[in-house]
């Protein structure tokens, strides 16, 4: 649909308002860079007052499902201010499901874990990273000394990047166990 539509749209170009072109062109998917640059010109400064001056557009990938949709993240002063669609992404062509378009909420969410936590007598307590790493490793090394490395089950993630996943496998191997898995098994 994308390219036929652009052709359709460009036939009608004439003096039929910038607005219409922009909408049709982008909505029906810029099939390729070349097609889109013909019909969608960038808006000039008079037309647009950038709502987020100085922001940069970071290309990234949705972290939900395996389709692999593109995301444009607008970042201003280190803050992700707006999630935009990647109309020219070859797999998603700008489309998202509700989960995908809400990815910005993962960094905006107030329910994130903000600091290391430890449960003491049934109450969650804030601790420092140093304390967390020290205590956990101490306990694990003690158990390893007692029963050997197979005392732990490492559950990795399908949300890891390829490199993290590769390193997690290596992590388990160097700890000395094959007790490692992730949700490929569900």
């Amino acid at each position: 649909m994308s390219k036929e539509m652009l052709k359709d749209a460009s036939l009608h170009m004439g003096r039929r308002s910038f607005l219409k072109m922009a909408a049709i062109g982008a909505s029906f998917g810029a099939g390729s860079a070349f097609a889109s640059s013909d019909s969608i010109r960038p808006a000039t400064e008079e037309e647009v007052k950038n709502p987020f001056p100085g922001s940069k557009r970071v290309k990234t990938i949705c972290s939900i499902c395996s389709a692999g949709c593109g995301i444009i993240a607008e970042v201003q002063n280190g803050v992700w201010v707006r999630q935009d669609v990647a109309q020219d992404h070859p797999i998603s062509e700008g489309s998202h499901c509700c989960k995908g378009i809400d990815q910005i909420d993962l960094v905006k969410s107030t329910q994130r874990i903000k600091y290391p936590l430890k449960k003491v007598d049934g109450k969650w307590q804030r601790i420092s990273w140093d304390q967390a790493v020290n205590e956990i490793s101490e306990k694990m090394l003690k158990m390893r000394a007692e029963n050997g490395p197979d005392i732990v089950e490492f559950l990795g993630s399908a949300k890891f990047s390829l490199q993290q996943a590769f390193y997690f496998r290596k992590f388990a191997a160097m700890w000395g166990t094959n007790n490692i898995d992730h949700v490929a098994r569900i």
Partner: protein, 742 residues
């Protein structure tokens, strides 16, 4: 998947079985809808429930869950009877189809209908449509895999495609739709108990190969394990690790599990929640590293020795992800890790230091291949680029050698230069496919958007079937027929996979001594890349050109057989199609099959089939989505879809609360939604909720301010006992229950 989504437009028919991508994977489903609109592609949906995908189908078949093998044999029966199979394809590119044919002969439409619950005329109609309009494609997902016969399910569908000659073609193939964004990649990277990265397995050769690539001493690595024996043994799997703690079923390991380390796995997306809770309560240490509270922390009632470490989301780290079509995509870091979060790799680095193997851990990133040898080339490393290079030089088995950071970055920067239908690049990206779908044999290879195409040269993404299972079986050659020549290949017909030993003979070349010295033992373990280089010159695929085997002689069922689910509603069929014998040991633990299935007629007390479903606003354990107010608002509470007739029989009105009881004494309390997508013999429920366990609200267990907007019972509390005989995947999609008004 063997194809990529854009290719759906070339299919004349797409059959979705055990997949509801309209809900689980809407962007994938868009391509199917586009195919309908652009090419008049017909869509067949086979599913126990009338899903959103089914609503868009031209033909919908309501199958009884757990009877997919029977259904496909029913199709094959009709195909063979009418001679609709691709005889040439079967003859030249497959092995042992006659055994399949023999089994299919038993599955008359009448028997198939009795077992699957699909009317005879619909079976015939679907088969006719699918078989007579090739190329036709199959899409499947977890509805196929999550069964005690899951591994047979995943074999019977490719067999159907081989019988119809639908493999290795535009418009044909298999759309195996993965779940999470990088479940393909994390699997490829071997976050698995039964293999190292790249499916190299756990044998000594694999360990030695990885030790070399990681830049560590094999002996040191071996010393890290309890005994060498445990290095080669599969570990506990995600499905039954808790038995390593509880030891209720017989286990075989060097030690009981005393600690569980959860880094990005939604614990409530696994079956046997009650057992998992017990295990979490019993272990000595629980470590959780997540951006949001993992329900493991909530499910357990333990009072201490549980830690939660804040980890950034994937937008707070950089790396690549593999989409379901095997394309790698570069995911840029959007923001620095928020609050006190660290990225996943930083967490690993921090603990590697404490555990005393940090230097060995990161050594691989400082190494590179020089003259066929992996040697240290620098003293520091850059994440993730050096890890990307490490993966590229190591994982040859699935052809990741071409995935260099430079190429993947340029694909991201220029993603607008790729065609959405074919993924072909244009302009500066000409001659490459988007994301270099693996196998991407070397840094000049364009990637392989469609697997097993022999009409394009290997250098452009073509290949035959892999020669993986020997040169012959029962005296029959496993190599492809003389007539099956991959375009541009120097070798006519089939050839074996390349090794240092056979390369001269197979390719008809002579190696120099220097080359011999550098070359690894086989194509998959050849750091030098010489085997690939020679293969490229000859237009040959390193992994050979073989026949696809339709029987797996190492498996309990060499020919896939229909076997009733562990808890089946058809006691009569349980006698006729019993499940496997009990399995003494798989992933270090015993698993019950027949003894559980035949113990009693479960369907007497638990007459209702239990089917899992997806909701579009939640994924996995719902950990990420339920913290979004907009997404939670769509399904603010846990529910089960139940047919009004069934509900009213139990006095349950629309939106009433009801108890669902499972055969093993567990129960959940959920809201009943009267819905016609299910018939009166089954209920379906989403599995993405957590925070309530058997009627008890666990809100108090969330650390302050982290409770999601929506909580509810996890359906996996009542997922029935049952595991696949090979992969040990839980039988999420077939089980029994009874309902009761709450």
């Amino acid at each position: 998947m063997t194809q990529q989504f854009g290719d759906a437009v070339n299919a004349k028919v797409i059959m979705m079985i055990g997949a509801n991508s309209a809900v689980a994977n809407p962007i994938g489903f868009k391509h199917f809808l586009q195919a309908k609109d652009r090419n008049g592609t017909k869509l067949i949906v086979v599913d126990p429930i009338y899903t959103r995908s089914a609503a868009k189908a031209d033909l919908y078949l309501r199958i009884r869950s757990g009877t997919d093998i029977a259904f496909v044999y029913g199709m094959l029966h009709i195909i063979f009877k009418n001679g609709w199979e691709d005889k040439e394809f079967i003859e030249t590119r497959s092995y042992a189809m006659d055994q399949i044919r023999a089994e299919a002969a038993k599955w008359t439409p009448e028997l198939t209908s009795d077992v699957t619950g699909i009317p005879v005329d619909q079976i015939i109609q679907a088969t006719t449509l699918f078989a007579k309009n090739t190329p036709s494609a199959i899409a499947w997902s977890l509805g196929i895999t999550q069964h005690s016969v899951g591994s047979s399910n995943t074999r019977i569908l490719p067999i159907l495609q081989i019988a119809l000659g639908n493999m290795g073609k535009k418009g044909g193939g298999l759309y195996i739709i993965r779940g999470h964004d990088n479940v393909q990649g994390a699997t490829d990277m071997g976050n698995l108990a039964d293999t190292l990265s790249g499916y190299y397995g756990l044998d000594d050769n694999a360990w030695k190969y990885f030790a070399t690539s990681w830049g560590v001493d094999y002996e040191w690595l071996k010393g890290r394990f309890f005994e060498k024996k445990w290095m080669n043994e599969k570990g506990y799997s995600l499905a039954k690790w808790y038995q390593g703690v509880l030891q209720e079923e017989k286990t075989y390991s060097s030690a009981p599990i005393r600690a569980v380390w959860i880094q990005g796995t939604g614990i409530t997306s696994m079956s046997q929640q009650a057992k998992i809770k017990e295990a979490l309560d019993k272990v000595d240490l629980v470590v959780i590293a997540e951006p949001f509270v993992n329900e493991a922390a909530v499910l357990t009632s333990r009072k201490d020795n549980i830690y939660i470490l804040p980890v950034g989301t994937q937008f707070e780290s950089e790396g690549t992800v593999t989409a379901t079509n095997r394309s790698a995509q570069w995911r840029s870091k959007v923001v620095e890790p928020l609050y006190e979060s660290k990225s996943d790799e930083e967490v690993m680095f921090a603990f590697a230091k404490k555990f005393g193997f940090y230097d060995q851990f990161v050594q691989g990133m400082k190494m590179d291949v020089k003259d066929g040898k992996v040697v240290q080339v620098k003293n520091d490393f850059k994440w993730p680029d050096d890890a990307v290079r490490e993966i590229a030089r190591t994982i040859k088995s699935i052809g990741l050698s071409g995935w260099t950071p430079e190429r993947l970055r340029s694909h991201q920067e220029n993603w607008h230069m790729f065609d959405p239908v074919t993924l072909e690049g244009k302009g500066p990206m000409k001659g490459q496919y988007y994301g270099l779908p693996w196998p991407c044999w070397d840094d000049k290879h364009p990637g392989s958007p469609i697997l097993y195409r022999r009409d394009v040269p290997v250098a452009e993404g073509g290949m035959g079937f892999r020669n993986r299972f020997g040169l012959e079986h029962n005296g029959v050659s496993q190599l492809a027929d003389k007539s099956v020549t991959v375009a541009g290949s120097k070798i006519e017909g089939g050839y074996p996979q390349l090794t240092k030993e056979n390369i001269e003979k197979v390719l008809g070349i002579t190696l120099t001594e220097a080359e011999k010295a550098q070359m690894g033992g086989s194509w998959a373990m050849d750091f030098s890349g010489l085997i690939q280089q020679k293969a490229r010159e000859a237009g040959v695929c390193v992994y050979g050109n073989a026949k696809a085997r339709t029987i797996v002689w190492e498996f309990p069922d060499p020919v896939p057989l229909h076997r009733e689910p562990i808890h089946s509603p058809r006691w009569d069929l349980v006698q006729k199609f019993p499940t496997y014998d009990d399995q003494p040991k798989n992933f270090r633990v015993e698993t019950k099959f027949k003894s559980e299935q035949q113990k009693q007629d479960w369907s007497k007390e638990f007459p209702i089939m239990l089917v899992s479903m997806r909701v579009v606003n939640l994924s996995g354990a719902g950990m990420l989505e339920r913290t979004s107010k907009y997404l939670s608002a769509i399904t603010p509470e846990m529910f089960a879809n139940i047919h009004p007739d069934l509900a009213l029989k139990h006095g349950i009105r629309d939106r009433d609360m009801m108890w669902i009881h499972a055969p093993h004494g567990t129960k959940i309390k959920v809201k009943a939604y009267h819905n016609h997508s299910v018939t009166a013999d089954r209920i379906c429920l989403p599995y993405n909720f957590a925070g309530v366990f058997q009627g008890a609200d666990l809100s108090a267990n969330y650390p302050e301010g982290t409770k999601p907007y929506a909580i509810g019972e996890s359906s996996n509390t009542i997922t029935n006992y049952g595991f696949d005989v090979i992969t040990q995947i839980s039988e999420f999609n077939a089980g029994l229950c009874r309902v009761e008004k709450a």
